[in-house]
């Protein structure tokens, strides 16, 4: 609504310079159509005409900008999240909530917080790695502006997420945050390692299907 008031201000200033224009004041010099001279007609224009014009203009601009802003917000809300899930964060919140009504071991809460911190670190690294590539894609027109905006916002979200985790750590155990951050880093890498290890089985199955392999139960090839 701020923009509206400045518009009004501008508009008054604009109105000050009155239109004592040259309507109907056609100067026919020693023209070729001398007959036209006595037929000049003055069209009476009310003082309110420019006012009306300006009001229509301002109102339509304001309406448009409001509509546009709403549409942008809706579009941004429709954008998919950069990351598919926020399980680590949600789990921590749920457990914290649960601990208020039910007896939960304090270390379970700590574990969930460490998991959350580790995930935040993973996301920070991931975003840092992808940042230049996504920026390049945005500049070359491969992805739209919305996604780029969303991506930039996500960088801040992830930062805030890690800061929040540190604060929670301080609340759970005063003086812990420094060690907490180190632990999170180790956890982040080790979890990545173990996710890869645990995917081996599933990968094998996909390969058997993709390559149409005939295996014996002990894993050797059937002849």
């Amino acid at each position: 609504m701020d923009s509206n008031s400045t518009f009004e201000g501008d508009f008054h200033g604009f109105n000050g310079t009155s239109f004592n224009g040259t309507y109907g004041n056609s100067t026919n010099g020693n023209g070729t159509f001398t007959g036209a001279e006595d037929k000049v007609e003055t069209i009476p224009i009310s003082f309110y005409t420019p006012v009306l014009y300006a009001v229509i203009l301002v109102v339509s601009l304001v309406l448009f900008s409001r509509h546009y802003k709403q549409q942008r917000l809706r579009q941004l809300a429709e954008q998919p999240d950069i990351f598919d899930e926020h399980d680590a964060e949600e789990l921590y919140r749920e457990i914290k909530e649960m601990s208020q009504t039910q007896k939960v071991h304090e270390k379970v809460l700590k574990a969930a917080l460490l998991n959350r911190g580790a995930e935040a670190i993973r996301r920070t690294l991931k975003l840092k790695e992808l940042g230049p590539q996504i920026e390049l894609m945005y500049k070359s027109g491969t992805i739209g502006e919305d996604y780029w905006e969303r991506f930039k916002a996500e960088t801040k979200v992830v930062e805030a997420e890690f800061r929040d985790s540190i604060q929670e750590a301080e609340a759970l155990q005063p003086g812990w945050p420094k060690l907490f951050a180190t632990l999170c880093q180790e956890i982040c890498f080790n979890q990545a390692l173990s996710r890869r290890y645990h995917s081996i089985l599933a990968r094998k199955e996909v390969c058997i299907k993709e390559w149409d392999l005939q295996l014996n139960s002990d894993g050797t090839l059937k002849k």
Binding site: D87, I95, N190, D218
Partner: protein, 201 residues
């Protein structure tokens, strides 16, 4: 949408309806992994008496894993390949299961890579080429890019009759290690097979 908490085991689990909902949304896997990670971490922390525990590796667990691995090596010396493979697999499994995520990553990585290399060799020797291939992929995924990894991967792919993939792997190995004679020999073998596969001889 809530969680179930078992006060005795200190473990969290998902209620039935939440599993169903997550499955429908296709997000169950990620959720289960996260829950498993929290449970594992919790179990580990509860075991720690010092609230300011550090990322030091646990000596007791290191010893256990080491002894299991060494028993595998001993069997290898006696040419009991299948048994050796079994024990080394168990050692790898043990390391993954008992090590805590906050124990130093550098040490864990080194440990598992070292054991995995032996496991891969044994898998290849005993004809378990798919197992070997996936373990090699794991190694490469953890940033290992030595020439012997490429040799083993190309070999496994060749044995699995994935000639095109084998050639691609071999060529990459050769561009990183241009003087590796074993890779050159493998490349020759793969080309021969590929020509046969494409009916080009």
């Amino acid at each position: 949408m809530s969680l179930l908490y078992n006060e005795n085991s200190k473990k969290l689990s998902l209620p039935e309806e939440r599993i169903e909902a997550a499955k429908a949304a296709g997000s169950l896997e990620a959720l289960e992994i996260n829950l498993e990670q929290v449970n594992k971490l919790a179990a580990g922390i509860i075991g720690e008496s010092n609230p300011n525990f550090t990322p030091q590796p646990n000596d007791e667990r290191s010893k256990m894993i080491k002894s299991m691995f060494e028993s595998g090596l001993a069997q290898l010396k006696q040419q009991k390949l299948v048994e050796a493979l079994k024990n080394i697999t168990l050692a790898v499994e043990l390391a993954q299961r008992s090590r805590m995520p906050y124990e130093a990553f550098a040490i864990q990585l080194q440990e598992i890579q070292f054991m995995m290399r032996h496991k891969i060799d044994l898998s290849l020797l005993t004809g378990r080429f798919l197992d070997a291939l996936q373990d090699i992929e794991f190694l490469m995924n953890t940033g290992m890019a030595q020439s012997d990894v490429f040799i083993r991967k190309a070999d496994a792919l060749l044995k699995l009759r994935q000639y095109q993939d084998a050639a691609v792997c071999c060529e990459r190995g050769l561009s990183l290690f241009p003087n590796e004679t074993k890779l050159k020999a493998l490349m020759h073998e793969i080309k021969r097979n590929l020509a046969e596969f494409n009916g080009e001889n």
